[in-house]
């Protein structure tokens, strides 16, 4: 591998970063090669390690610092989670550790996914259950008005509590996103700690 293909590979691995970040990183490594001198090109490539390794360090640092620096939002949580997952997967890890990491990420994803689905389904179930009761109340209005009133009243109460639940549910789901980011960040730190000079 020569300098040009090394830098090209690095660019390829970093393409998910914002353009400004990507350019800064590429400029840094170009200068690094320049400073080392043309005759040391191979040596520099060897010392830096694979483009994947360099890229995963940059991405992980970017994901975490960017995460700390700007206020939380669900979309940003997702971006951070995604960047950390990519950083973990592109890190040069031994196969067993990589397999464990992948398994952990998948099971974490599955748990979180089913949890979120369950909560949202409960909220929606209460809301629509109330509406159904409300509507059936109107249907029996002409046949038996006390029953109708009971149904309508129940429907209003249940729908109302469903509506009240929504902000709580959204906050809860956001919180889960945050926890995911922290767990993943912890996982990343743990599995990369053993590397030489790891962050």
């Amino acid at each position: 591998m020569d300098r040009a293909s090394y830098l090209k590979k690095l660019r390829g691995k970093l393409y998910r970063l914002p353009a400004q970040e990507l350019d800064a990183a590429l400029a840094y490594y170009e200068e690094y090669f320049d400073e080392a001198g043309e005759e040391n090109e191979q040596q520099v490539i060897q010392q830096l390690g694979s483009p994947s390794k360099v890229a995963s360090q940059i991405m992980a640092d970017f994901a975490l610092k960017d995460f700390d620096a700007t206020p939380a939002s669900t979309k940003k949580n997702m971006t951070t989670i995604w960047l950390i997952i990519l950083a973990i997967l592109s890190a040069p890890l031994s196969l067993p550790i990589l397999a464990t990491a992948v398994a952990l990420i998948i099971s974490l994803g599955a748990v979180v996914f089913s949890f979120v689905i369950a909560i949202v389904a409960t909220g929606l179930g209460i809301f629509f259950g109330g509406i159904v009761a409300l509507i059936s109340g109107f249907f029996v209005l002409t046949d038996h008005w006390p029953t109708a009133l009971l149904f309508i009243g129940m429907g209003l109460i249940v729908t109302g509590s469903g509506v009240l639940l929504f902000p709580i549910i959204t906050r809860f789901v956001k919180k889960i996103g945050l926890v995911c980011v922290e767990v993943l960040a912890g996982l990343f730190k743990k599995i990369t700690k053993k590397r030489k000079g790891g962050l």
Partner: protein, 106 residues
Amino acid sequence: MTFQLGSALLDACVLAIVDKEDAYGYSLTQQVQSVMDISESTLYPVLRRLQKVDYLKTYDQPYQGRNRRYYQITEEGRIRLMELLQEWQMYKQKVDCVLLGGELNG
């Protein structure tokens, strides 16, 4: 190096080096490597991070027909360096005390 190096200590080293004199990426790596066993690729994320929290700023200077990006410490960076130095002193004293059997003052 036998002893693990944390990111705070790495930050401190980088800030201390640029506090003495502005430096560019390659020379910084060499200087840090002369005291710590870090890989060549470790420093870039550190520099980028220190830049983002305004402890470092950069400027370009032409050198042999291309640009060299120099890193310079900021006022905030100096303050941070002072804090880190104080913490290092305390830490060093405590470790020395255990390892060398000295007196622990404070």
